[in-house]
């Protein structure tokens, strides 16, 4: 097994506000890691650090052995240029709470945009892949629609297909079901379950305890910028050791 994500003592501050105070985490290839925690605990910020949407202040993050955002040369860290950061992001897919589909493009164009423009892949090859990805998330019939014509759950499934079109080795999910109507949550979770079953490495920030228990291989509970507790999801959820974990779980369960 190879380590897909390795975080060593990651610190992040916005001005004087310390959001992450030393996060350590290892996610193995093919593993689904769920991140739980109250809002403001820094879990979304940590996820955004993994693909360098946020710059970390201290520590190291490695994805598939690649140091994210920096390069070590002669014992000194050099910031990576825009192109290198973009190259690192190509293999890390991300799904956002608010979907963030491109509203001026059709569903198919949304999925095809990055492979065509970033990787300059052959358009017809990308098209075939995009269509099959959309079929996979159950939206093959909607490919000529604009995002504004879809429901939240459908939009989020398109967002997943869009991220997958880049053939990432790691997928990051930032509260993917939090902006959805309760009845639409299931369809997105089902898509994510399929993805997990196919062996995708996933880091999922979520409030869906059921999903964490059923699909997660590991669970970390964050509060106040630190990892309070981690372990196999069933164990942590059934018998939390820390009082903060107990308090949180008693509120959400």
């Amino acid at each position: 097994m190879t380590e897909m994500v390795r975080a060593d003592n990651v610190h992040k501050a916005f001005g004087s506000l310390e959001v992450l105070k030393g996060i350590d985490l290892v996610v193995q290839q093919g593993e689904v890691c769920c991140v739980l925690g109250p809002s403001g605990s820094g879990k979304s910020t940590f996820l955004r650090c993994i693909n360098h949407l946020e710059k970390i202040n201290a520590g190291r993050i490695l994805v598939d052995g690649d140091l994210i955002g920096y390069q070590e040369r002669g014992g000194k860290l050099h910031e990576l240029g825009e192109k290198d950061v973009a190259r690192q992001r190509q293999s890390i897919g991300m799904v956002f709470q608010r979907f963030n589909l491109f509203p001026h493009m059709t569903v198919l164009q949304n999925v095809m945009e990055a492979p065509c423009r970033v990787k300059s892949e052959n358009k017809s090859v990308v098209r075939d892949r995009a269509v099959s990805l959309l079929d996979q998330v159950g939206l093959g019939a909607k490919k000529e629609n604009y995002p504004g014509q879809l429901s939240g759950g459908q939009q989020q499934r398109v967002a997943i297909a869009r991220a997958l079109a880049m053939r990432p080795k790691l997928m990051l999910f930032d509260e993917p079901t939090s902006a959805l109507d309760p009845e639409l949550v299931g369809e997105v979770l089902d898509t994510m379950k399929d993805l997990a079953r196919d062996g995708m490495t996933m880091v999922v920030v979520t409030h869906e305890i059921g999903f964490a228990r059923e699909v997660g291989d590991s669970l970390i509970f964050m509060d106040g910028g630190v990892v309070v507790e981690q372990g196999p999801p069933r164990e942590v959820i059934a018998n939390p050791r820390e009082t903060r974990t107990k308090a949180f779980l008693s509120k959400v369960l």
Binding site: N51, L53, E82, K83, A86, R87, Q88, R89, Q90, I92, G93, M94, F96, R98, N100, L101, F102, P103, H104, M105, T106, E113, A114, R117, V118, A141, K142, Y146, P147, G148, Q149, S151, A159, R162, A163, M166
Partner: protein, 333 residues
């Protein structure tokens, strides 16, 4: 399904036939407007001092009306050309300055701010006259090594000339080019503010999602942010184009003769016919602006893809279907 069943179970009540609310004030206003319109048309038709035939049919001995004489058409071409070139300069500069203004680099954003400050503060008329006289500053304007004379002196060479190409300043910076630059540079400042507002109106999540897909900053701007910002940018830009058509008349002070209003003014100075010439100018400006408004309609429609009323209507229809427990349109097929 459920609503249909309900309809069969309960008889539909008689439709409401109520007396609508009367709006007597509106009718009074309409009557006043109608009278004013009638008076205006009466004026246009009966007052022979308009000299419609002078405008449309016979100008002096010619067979054409003053609107269609060669110098006026020449002026019209000049006005259109000046509008297009100065708007192109304005839009290109505006996009560049807006991007500089939003740059995280303080120096770039300050330079952009100073540019906008200067060109918005100086009246276009003053700019036009200024650019017409700017060639006093230089003998020749050229392209080559900057500060070539000073550098030459440093190494003991007098009169080092490292210009690859140069032209007499009074040939380049006069007339049409001066007018075009004055209008274009001034327009750049206004367009910069419009483009900046457009870019800032886009949800930062859009750029974030694009970056997360591995797109470069330039690609994000070109493919994701600007196309969406166009929805906000186009309507005020339409305003700017129309304002520019009219502001081209300011370059008469550069002076530029290749311009509509200047040409018409010349005719009234020569023939002592004032009002009909002004009316002719007015009609031309109305025609140009009408054509531009048609163009704006199509450009706006193009950039509202994905937001259009058809999309919203379909979305509403779908929402209603979901509420009534129906199937989502077209899905599962």
């Amino acid at each position: 399904m459920t609503t249909e069943q309900q309809e069969t179970e309960r008889a539909r009540p008689e439709p409401i036939k109520a007396v609508p609310v009367r709006h007597p004030g509106r009718w009074v206003l309409i009557a006043v407007l109608a009278i004013l319109a009638a008076m205006f048309i009466h004026l246009l038709v009966t007052n022979d001092r308009f000299r419609w035939s002078f405008i449309f049919l016979h100008y002096q001995d010619g067979k054409r009306g003053v609107m269609f004489t060669e110098p006026v058409l020449e002026g019209l071409r000049g006005t259109i050309l000046l509008t297009i070139t100065s708007m192109v300069i304005g839009i290109v500069l505006g996009v560049i300055i807006a991007i500089m203004r939003l740059s995280p680099n303080r120096i770039l954003s300050s330079v952009a701010w100073i540019y906008t400050w200067f060109f918005r503060a100086v009246p276009r008329l003053v700019l036009a006259v200024l650019f017409g006289n700017l060639n006093i500053l230089w003998d020749r304007i050229g392209f080559g090594l900057p500060f070539d004379h000073q550098i030459g002196k440093l190494f003991g060479i007098n009169d080092l000339n490292a210009q690859f190409y140069s032209i007499k300043a009074s040939d380049l910076l006069a007339g049409f080019v001066a007018g075009m630059l004055a209008l274009g540079l001034s327009e750049g400042a206004y367009m910069a503010e419009i483009v900046r507002a457009g870019i800032q109106s886009i949800d930062p999540g859009q750029a974030e999602a694009a970056h997360a897909l591995g797109m470069s900053r330039q690609l994000v701007l070109r493919r994701v942010v600007l196309p969406q910002a166009m929805r906000v940018i186009v309507p005020p830009t339409g305003n700017e184009v129309i304002a520019m058509v009219k502001d081209t008349s300011l370059v008469a002070f550069v002076p530029v003769t290749f311009e509509l209003f200047f040409q018409l003014n010349q005719i009234s100075a020569r023939t002592f016919v004032v009002l009909p010439v002004l009316v002719a100018a007015l009609i031309w400006y109305l025609i140009i602006c009408s054509v531009l408004m048609v163009g704006q309609f199509f450009v706006e429609r193009h950039f509202s893809r994905g937001y259009g009323s058809t999309g919203r209507a379909r979305q509403r229809l779908r929402d209603i279907e979901v509420e009534q427990g129906g199937r989502i349109t077209g899905e599962a097929s």
